[in-house]
């Protein structure tokens, strides 16, 4: 149950903060792009804060349900976590300061926003790689983590760009379409690279992937995933269409790809919470604590989803210029 909740939180985080981080990475930095930057940031303005909360929830649930895993994971990732936090801080404040700063400071804050987003995604990817490698610090796993860092950055740009296709129009939308295609290809390369290396270095993963009859099921995930990439690329070649038709599809396709990749990772390692070191039964915390928080979660999470949906409905449609009112 808690694994499911945490899975939901992490997945929600990857998709939701994924797109706003992606938008941050994609910010074009030339002087004349200022208007486009404004629109891009406006498209994520009402959401980014709530998106980031999913990260806090995921970490919180990890802490509540599996305290020993929480300590183990966070201590092993001490420095990348610190860098990621600095990235998040840079983003969070740049977002607010840019709207209030004088014109000559705005570019600097935009740059801060972009760099902060980039730092965050790179370190998250690196941490994912380290996590998959069981926090091995040897050179090969560092290399793997580096690839994973690039892969996650590409994936976030992919979903970010697709979000922009959905939320923008005219020139910027055309630009976003090009970004989405490019990021999509980069992500595909990243996914393939990670999929190829992972079973080679993790014998457990290899066994799990390539034993009959599971192999049939396992092949389904990458097959669907690949299909998603190709379909999206074909669709994007034709965008933008008249009357803005199908501009939402790429985003939902990327969401589907995220879900697939995520279930792929989950499938590879379940029930280990720290791959190769600690499984969920060993790491679980006291029952009375779990029951206490579960009772609340069951009531509160649907409410959260409801008002999140409400907020997305309020801000549906194309991003308009960002005003504090």
């Amino acid at each position: 149950m808690f694994i499911a909740l945490m899975g939901l939180a992490v997945l929600a985080y990857a998709i939701l903060d994924g797109y706003d981080l992606g938008v941050g990475i994609l910010l074009p930095m030339r002087e004349e792009d200022e208007l486009q930057r404004d629109t891009m940031i406006a498209s994520i303005g009402p959401f980014w804060d709530a998106n980031e909360t999913w990260l806090v929830l995921a970490i919180g649930l990890l802490l509540i349900a599996f305290p020993s895993a929480h300590s183990l994971i966070l201590m092993n990732l001490y420095i990348p976590v610190a860098i990621m936090l600095v990235g998040l801080i840079m983003r969070g404040v740049a977002f607010d300061f840019r709207a209030k700063a004088a014109v000559d400071h705005k570019l600097a804050w935009d740059r801060t926003f972009k760099i902060g987003s980039l730092l965050t995604t790179l370190t998250q990817g690196y941490m994912l790689g380290q996590y998959v490698m069981g926090f091995d610090k040897s050179l090969p796993s560092q290399l793997f983590s580096a690839i994973s860092a690039l892969g996650v950055t590409a994936a976030y740009s992919y979903i970010g760009a697709a979000w922009l296709v959905l939320k923008t129009e005219h020139q910027l939308q055309a630009r976003a379409v090009r970004w989405t295609r490019r990021a999509g290809r980069a992500t595909l390369v990243g996914v393939i690279a990670v999929c190829a290396i992972n079973p080679l270095v993790n014998p457990g993963v290899f066994d799990r992937w390539f034993t009959f009859p599971l192999v049939m099921f396992v092949l389904l995930i990458p097959a669907l995933c690949f299909l998603g990439f190709v379909a999206n690329d074909i669709l994007l070649r034709r965008l933008p269409k008249e009357h803005d038709r199908h501009s939402g599809q790429p985003f939902f396709i990327v969401m589907g790809i995220f879900v697939l990749c995520f279930s792929g990772i989950g499938f590879s390692f379940f029930p280990d919470i720290v791959p190769g070191k600690l499984n969920i039964w060993e790491a679980a915390s006291a029952r009375e604590s779990l029951r206490f928080i579960l009772a609340g979660a069951v009531v509160v999470i649907p409410v959260i989803l409801m008002y999140t949906a409400f907020s997305y409905r309020v801000f549906h449609g194309k991003a308009t210029e960002l005003h504090y009112h």
């Binding site: 980031e52 802490l63 305290p67 001490y78 801080i89 959260i304 801000f315």
Partner: protein
Amino acid sequence: MLSRIQFATNISFHILFPTITIALCWILFFFKLRFDLTGNPVWMRAYRFWVKIFALTFALGVVSGITMSFQFGTNWPGYMEKVGNIAGPLLGYEVLTAFFLEATFLGIMLFGIKRVPSKVHTFSALMVAIGTTLSAFWILALNSWMQTPAGYEIREGVVHATNWLEVIFNPSFPYRLLHMLLASGLTASFFVAGLSAYRILKGDEKQAPRLALKTGLVLAAILAPIQAFVGDLHGLNTFEHQPQKIAAMEGVWETERGAPLLLFAIPDEETRSNHFAIGIPNMASLILTHETDGEIRGLNSFDGDHPPVKPLFFGFRIMVGMGLLMLATAWLGCYLLRRPAMPRVFLRVLVAMTFSGWVATLAGWYVTEVGRQPWLVTGILKTADAVTPVAPANVGLSLALYLLVYAVLMWAYIHTLKRMATKSVYVEEFETAEPAADGSLTNLPQSHTQPHTKPHTAGGNA
């Protein structure tokens, strides 16, 4: 040691912003509600200016708060292993009930005014206010539990909850929560008053800053005496549950009857006595036991197990001193409100006191947190046993990183506040599309002669 410095730095930095936002969003809700009820656009102008400040402050609170949530795991693994069963769910409830509420409705509050009906918008402001308050509720529940644990048992060296109601409503919780909420109210009201005074000094002739100034002063004048009262209750509660903390705060080295209230002294840990003590005889005993010769247990009865005296002694005096100063300023200010214009000298005083709440709050927190030492969780876990085994070099590196980032942020924050206040002198925050019912107010800037308290009819504060 580095972990402690790092945590202290982070928490000190973090606490500054929630201290403002917890109460500021209630003030905003008040502005918005007044606008809805009266239709007077000045309230809306005040709301619009302050909602921007709120957003900025809130953003800083969020980012520094995320940092904190990670540090439990990175720097204090022993803490989580020992009391994770208590701390985890409390923090989890904060995220579930408060964070999402704030974050989601803040989006609507900041950017949604044209997209939702006015009532929904007011409702969003209310949700954000409830969210921040709930957040304070859970955090203080945890903090109070660390001070005065209850409702738990220890099995196999790990703390397990036996009664969640007792855990949450532990003996010091109600006092601590009230004390903090009032502190937030005072901090926010002086913040509002100070920045408004700055605008007026810069030549802002508009109604909105005057109204905000008045709101801040009246609120502070009401809250300050209540805070003194609650603070006293809180002190009595601490005296009952953590006498060693009181002994350090009052600089009582030996158990004594009829202890004096020390107005000034320099406590000396080595000779275990006070230098240059100036005190009012029997006062401390009177305050704490409500008897002139009541007994106060001295530090001697907690030998080797009491907190460092100096920080508590001075921290406490700074907090109380600041509180008294705020009380005096607020009352004087309310008296001066009756005049057509505030004297410039007094406006300058208010500007100087913009961040007075921060000083008092920080001093108060040091008293309460240092006062728990050497325990991290009173009677359960010592601070020294909870600290991370991560290499000091790593902690040092991340500490340097945080310090740098915080310094830049603090500078940027203050700088931006100043710039926003200055800019607002020349910019009208909100223009009504058509003349409002009370047409006199729509065509700002106002004529200079109009007394600033007049135009809104029901001028008082809730």
